[in-house]
Symmetry: C2
Subunit: 134 residues, 2 copies
């Protein structure tokens, strides 16, 4: 991680770089992109309920294509937020679960979901008024 500053211990010796998404090179930016993604939010909240198969995720998230869902799950697996387990059956059963790291993110994304549900009417009224002015 290469960011803007360094944390300092009690003797003023720098220890770890400070994560800072306002700095162009900070990798927290790529994490912000990932975790705020619409599909990521929806997948994480479903997996917070329970382990799911691919087909179940696809069925519950209306309109997501298999290709996009595959990309989202792969990125979540790469980031250490989700595990993919293949059970040797015929046909193979593939299940996705939250990791403990993924579990720490659920609360944050649940806040986005709750906000969107609670305030969609205000947002839509504002959009209509803005478009009428424009």
């Amino acid at each position: 991680m290469k960011c803007r500053g360094y944390l300092r211990d009690s003797e003023g010796v720098s220890t770890a770089p400070i994560a800072d998404p306002y700095a162009a090179a900070c990798p927290t930016r790529t994490v912000l992109d990932r975790i705020g993604d619409r599909w990521t939010v929806l997948v994480l909240l479903l997996l917070a309920e329970r382990t799911c198969r691919f087909t179940e995720l696809q069925r519950r998230i209306e309109g997501v294509s298999p290709k996009v869902l595959t990309q989202v799950l792969r990125a979540l697996e790469r980031d250490g937020l989700v595990t993919r387990e293949v059970h040797a059956e015929v046909p193979p059963r593939v299940e996705y679960s939250l990791t403990s790291l993924g579990g720490t993110l659920v609360q944050a994304v649940a806040g986005l979901d709750a906000w969107a549900r609670a305030h969609i009417d205000e947002v839509e009224r504002s959009r209509a008024a803005y478009d009428a002015r424009a």
Copy 2:
């Protein structure tokens, strides 16, 4: 808003549609896209500190282009999250502030920001391990 179900009052009469981002047609999806966007998170958190001019936002968010910042601010204004005020000076001073609706979103996006800062090292280690396996 046109979503999956309807809230029912105590007599079982349907009242308002239930916002549900798992439904393909629900407008909460477009809101989820907006609020989780990397630049949106960074702009909202700066405006939560204080009213800012365009140039200040641009300076503090390293690497954002004027074009993208303009688009982000316009979308936030359209959604009713930010107000744009033009002061009749030479040159005109343009300032952006959070609306009260925007203020309600700040806490949710602050959770994303905090998560990204706190867990970036774990995410980066996971990415490196995943890429080494692939």
